[in-house]
Symmetry: C2
């Protein structure tokens, strides 16, 4: 009932906000163009075809792998093919990490093999693996409050299961263990950390994702079990006898071996204000296990297709539309941080930005993060998006999603678009992130939204900071 009330109130506010929109930032011709752009986006398979091309011809593209270098070439060629006016790359440097293999087995009381995957950035176990008793923690808080030395010589195991939510808000509580769990466990004396995958599926496939070792604590290996294997391990533990697990990771962390990659940037040049940039972002890298069709092939496809549709108009919109395909997002927004460093002098010309990095589902909400005077224009935009099922959030505190948060922190206004994320964490960071998971119909809606947004922002001349 409380949720229902919230929805109702926020819907009413959205409707009121839309009706309060008086300013008229676009000419009638512009409005006609937007309708035509929308129809094109809703009837074309272009975005899907871009993702098909990326996943078929490139596939996995983690920073430091041949696939990543191939992806950069692919993106440059694809932007040119799609009619971008300028395409260039900007070098990004990270360090090497080799995944190697992951083996996990219950040794006692009931020997069984488990499906496990190394957390991104994990160190290896000793060559022969380790065998130790496991201690189960129901969640990160329980692990955090374990007594010092209570895990000496043991493997810490966090069995917390991520909750499925439309906005992905189950991720936060679950991902703490992946990020900080190994260091917290090490601080209590553990020799390894294993965890239930951060994922909402029931597949025998582990979810990877980056860990961050905390300075000053021992670096211990970290691995994620598939959900059914975590169930199995917890069932054996629940029988009350000591449970021993064998874990072997052959990962190699090479912090002193640099690897180069690149942000790939493409523009269609504004006809009146070429130095003002409406920015769309996505990340080009992926984890190395699936083909990154969803994470973030969807973002790459939406932003390229949207720009292509606008490039096909008889004339360029007033401002430049810039697409940034960020490098090395998965390992900590490395490309986005480099972009902000390189373009720091120029951030004031980034008039507004939107990222896509949240999977394959219809967009149901737009949340702005703009100056108060620009809210009228946002209401106009919302009016254009409403027929696509997109409502306007009553909040105005968006700071940019994923990579774009690095630009948002530097003062760039942003809009966040929220898609239905119910299935996103079924496939996130897994082998299962493949083209068949893409919702081709939702992708058309997504692309229509980004096309309208970018054309509106580039053509209307609104100052979104004010």
């Amino acid at each position: 009932m409380i949720n229902l009330k919230k929805i109702t109130i926020s819907s009413i506010i959205s409707v009121l906000m839309i009706f309060c929109a008086n300013a008229d930032s676009l000419s009638d011709q512009d409005k006609e163009r937007i309708l035509a752009l929308k129809n094109t986006a809703l009837s074309s398979n272009l975005a899907y075809d871009i993702d098909e091309s990326l996943t078929t011809e490139v596939g996995p593209r983690r920073v430091g792998t041949p696939g990543d270098k191939l992806a950069v070439k692919w993106a440059v060629a694809k932007m040119k093919q799609l009619g971008f006016d300028r395409v260039w790359t900007e070098e990004v440097i990270h360090h090497q990490w080799i995944r190697g293999t992951a083996e996990a087995r219950i040794i006692a009381p009931y020997p069984q093999r488990m499906v496990a995957i190394a957390l991104g950035g994990s160190v290896a176990t000793p060559v022969d693996g380790i065998t130790a008793e496991v201690v189960e923690f129901k969640n990160f808080a329980e692990l955090s409050s374990a007594e010092p030395d209570s895990l000496n010589g043991k493997i810490a195991y966090v069995s917390y299961r991520m909750e499925r939510k439309i906005d992905g808000s189950g991720y936060g509580p679950a991902v703490k263990t992946r990020a900080a769990g190994p260091s917290y466990a090490a601080a209590k004396g553990a020799i390894a950390l294993i965890m239930r995958s951060v994922g909402t599926d029931d597949d025998r496939i582990g979810h990877t994702g980056g860990l961050q070792y905390i300075e000053g604590t021992a670096k211990i290996p970290g691995a994620a079990l598939s959900n059914p294997d975590a169930d199995l391990l917890s069932r054996q533990i629940a029988r009350g006898n000591p449970v021993k697990v064998f874990l072997k990771l052959t990962a190699e962390r090479k912090d002193d071996v640099p690897v180069t990659t690149a942000n790939v940037i493409g523009e269609i040049t504004g006809s009146e204000s070429p130095d003002e940039y409406v920015v769309m972002g996505a990340h080009l890298d992926s984890w190395d296990v699936g083909t990154g069709a969803v994470d973030d092939g969807i973002g790459v496809s939406i932003t390229l297709a949207a720009t292509h549709y606008i490039a096909n108009l008889p004339q360029r919109p007033k401002r430049t539309i810039r697409v940034i395909l960020f490098a090395a997002e998965e390992v900590g927004l490395v490309g986005a941080k480099q972009y902000v460093k390189t373009h720091g002098h120029d951030m004031g010309n980034h008039v507004i930005g939107a990222e896509w990095d949240f999977g394959t589902g219809r967009i149901y909400e737009m949340k702005p993060g703009v100056g108060p005077s620009a809210l009228n224009a946002i209401r106009e935009l919302a009016e254009l998006l409403a027929p696509l099922g997109v409502s306007l959030s009553p909040k105005n505190d968006a700071k940019g999603q994923s990579d774009m948060s690095a630009l948002g922190k530097r003062g760039m206004p942003a809009v966040n678009f929220s898609p239905d994320g119910m299935t996103y964490f079924d496939y996130h960071h897994t082998e299962n992130d493949t083209l068949d998971k893409v919702d081709a119909e939702a992708l058309k809606q997504n692309t229509a939204v980004y096309t309208i947004f970018s054309y509106f922002a580039a053509q209307s001349g609104i100052d979104f900071r004010k």
Copy 2:
């Protein structure tokens, strides 16, 4: 429309058949007992707990593996614990096969790793693997009609996708390639066969299952790709350039190394006709990849729980209820064939039999295979099962499912119970066959049906052959 008509007509026939049931094979007390048994089965977690025990304490149990031997011990102990009067094992001999590892990669034009699994019984590739051009066939018929020598030095690839059907009837057209594909491909000169998995899911997990080499043709390696990987390979092939694949299997086929296992048989002894057996069957072995929670942990659990409920009654039913947990079903009904050999002299005393080997879903239909005079009794049974949502098939040609078909062929009357099989082939013969896939509520209905069936058949004294 045609299907709808069929359903309507068969429903009418079912209802008519039920109303035509005049004979009254059970006393009022028996009918009360059946009601009580039904209530017990519908409210108890016993069947689920049995499957939980099997999958947690034993796990995978392919013939020739330690898990299989452990499963036999587990089953003997579990039957005793559940109050069976007699429990024994009967030796079954098969030969050794080692799965080894499977590696598959597209080498050209766009190198990508694929997820593959060896077909059960496959030979290995040469130690260094093989690299060859693939030739795609849309289905088994296309492969069969390829010209002789047209596949010399090539890898045959069958991309046929299994259809999802409630009764599992999509399996037949798909499984032909798994069973006979390698020999058919070898006959045209191929050096290996790869195929799209026989499965309805979109997981990055291959489906195994047995192949049968045909005498007189070369034994070539056979492997199944996961559905997303088959999609990927077909997409690369569709671009029109030659596609090369690397395949490496380290399987070992050891036809001359015998392995022993056992059918595990348990009874509650009939109070009036102990030498007449109402038989319930399931198979104890599984493939080696998942924990066999569904295939056929469900069958094991239903038959043991049903017998336990009847064993708890104040007195034994008139006939013996015999549960046979068959060995080595997955490699070709080896345990069932041995059972028929051992019990050939005694087949006349097997008054009726039912197997469970079709997953986790509510039973919607019962199909008999009995003598014409016994149909009245079957209608009485159908009347007892109707409140559980089980309709009576208008056909009377059941011969026993899976293992039980070996007994059916020797003249034993049978009933086949059909559950909703829509998701069965998502997990069939994969890593993903784990406890979380079990529908615990459907399992209660399943167990209620088997309890009622076996009590009815054991207590009523009907001759199902006549």
